[in-house]
Symmetry: C2
Subunit: 289 residues, 2 copies
């Protein structure tokens, strides 16, 4: 087909100028609408007299659409951290640096349940998007349930190692000497399944957005790890691929909860080995300006 | 059109049996191939004599495709947590519960830089997928740079509040009394921008997968928060929408790094107010079996 013929036959190419024009007008309109929105926001914002008035307005009761999923609370003075460590950041770093991921646990002694509770309470102090606190911590010590969890995880991990994980991934894991056999799932006295609530419910049963739920729950896991270390316990953060749905079904969790990580908790076995990794140095992880 | 005519004209409907048959055969083949893969993995696995032989093999040097991005290290004994808190989990919980998100900082006193370093070192002890340590902590104390960061964030936040955030989201945030004005970005003595490395590089310059980098870096943020609290410092975890690219460009960060959170660090201002939220109770976040 000669080029001219092609141009004449193509609706798009023969009308290129009109299409370009329409696109330009659309982009311009979108830009102007954005400016109008910002102006409206700023006007409304100044009109409301900033934060104080916002708070007063909120007490007047809004229509349902405007109702905040958070309670409307007063704001109170805060003077900052008052409960700290005597040794400060240095003592904390030494504690954090002493923590290692453990893959071999001994079934006894069984840590006091109160200790696990305190650690979870500490994790529950994590900040979260719009204070939605989108976490559930499932603590499993029942032997039969631990066995059933292990069955689910090992069955999927067999397929993960054989099929789902790339060759590169399997090789990246090789220095960790991991495989599909997860005896820690039945050896460790406790398993904690940390679930993220991808959405929640208001008191009236309406669906409630959980902003940044994965980041928020992961931050809580970081605090949980520190609390466990402070209590002298060891743990391992695992993300068993493709097991979430089956584990949530086993524990009869509601559909808004998804597995984020599965952690065995306890004391390392007597002959516990860990890879002799060095951590990155400060200069390799920090950038100062 | 009469139903029969419709059936005759539709290729899909008139050939439903053949299509069903082909689908069944495909599903069966896929299932059998999965079984073969698992059998191959298990055979290879037993053949290698489990972990010990795996380690020996790895010393022999593999072809590049099989090369692990992690160093091949020996495994050493580990007896578990030895540096703990005297008050254990209870003391840690009290410290964590004493932490609150702060949105008003005073410019002075400026915390010692060594303290910030220790806190980041602690965060760098977080576990990560295949020990990839996919984090970079950008510490900003330069006044001009803080001002430019604030300009970028406030410009985007104006549009966020006006346009990008849903009405529901803005209302969910109302009890926090936030708006697009972020004076803490210039008031706080330090800003820490926590970046996730979505991939990395091996020593030979090859691209290196960073598995679960968002979860890993968020866990590190959780540890960072605890370290700051231990040192008596306050902070705020923010996720400024749509600012990541501009901030990374400003700091000339490589393209494999993306902004996860931006945290002002320092001491609360003298008249600092916080919303009088209660945290969820233990029974509302824990599920025991």
């Amino acid at each position: 087909m000669p080029t001219n013929g092609f141009f004449e036959k193509s609706i798009f190419l023969s009308n290129w100028f009109s299409i370009l024009l329409v696109t330009c007008v659309a982009v311009l309109l979108r830009y102007l609408l954005a400016k109008v929105d910002v102006a409206k926001y700023l006007w409304g914002h100044h009109h409301e007299g900033m934060a104080d008035d916002l708070a007063n307005n909120s007490k007047e009761g809004h229509c349902e659409e405007y109702f905040s999923a958070l309670p409307e609370v007063e704001h109170v003075p805060y003077i900052g951290a008052t409960i700290t460590l005597p040794g400060g950041s240095r003592q904390f770093y030494e504690m954090a640096n002493n923590r290692r991921s453990v893959r071999a646990f001994k079934p006894h002694p069984i840590p006091a349940f109160e200790v696990i509770e305190n650690c979870i309470l500490a994790a529950g102090c994590a900040p979260s998007g719009a204070h939605t606190e989108p976490w559930t911590f499932c603590v499993i010590s029942n032997k039969d349930l631990k066995h059933r969890i292990r069955c689910i995880v090992e069955r999927e991990e067999e397929i993960n190692y054989a099929q789902r994980m790339s060759k590169q991934w399997r090789n990246d894991l090789r220095p960790l000497k991991t495989n599909h056999v997860k005896s820690y799932l039945t050896d460790a006295p406790y398993l904690i399944l940390v679930l993220k609530q991808v959405y929640g419910f208001t008191k009236s049963g309406k669906r409630k957005q959980h902003y940044y739920n994965e980041i928020s729950v992961s931050i809580a896991v970081g605090i949980l790890l520190c609390a466990l270390q402070a209590a002298g316990l060891s743990s391992l953060v695992t993300t068993p691929l493709n097991c979430g749905a089956a584990l949530c079904r086993l524990l009869k969790r509601p559909i808004n909860e998804k597995l984020l990580v599965l952690m065995p908790i306890g004391y390392p076995s007597d002959n516990c080995l860990i890879p002799n990794f060095k951590r990155k140095e400060l200069k390799d992880i920090v950038f100062v300006k």
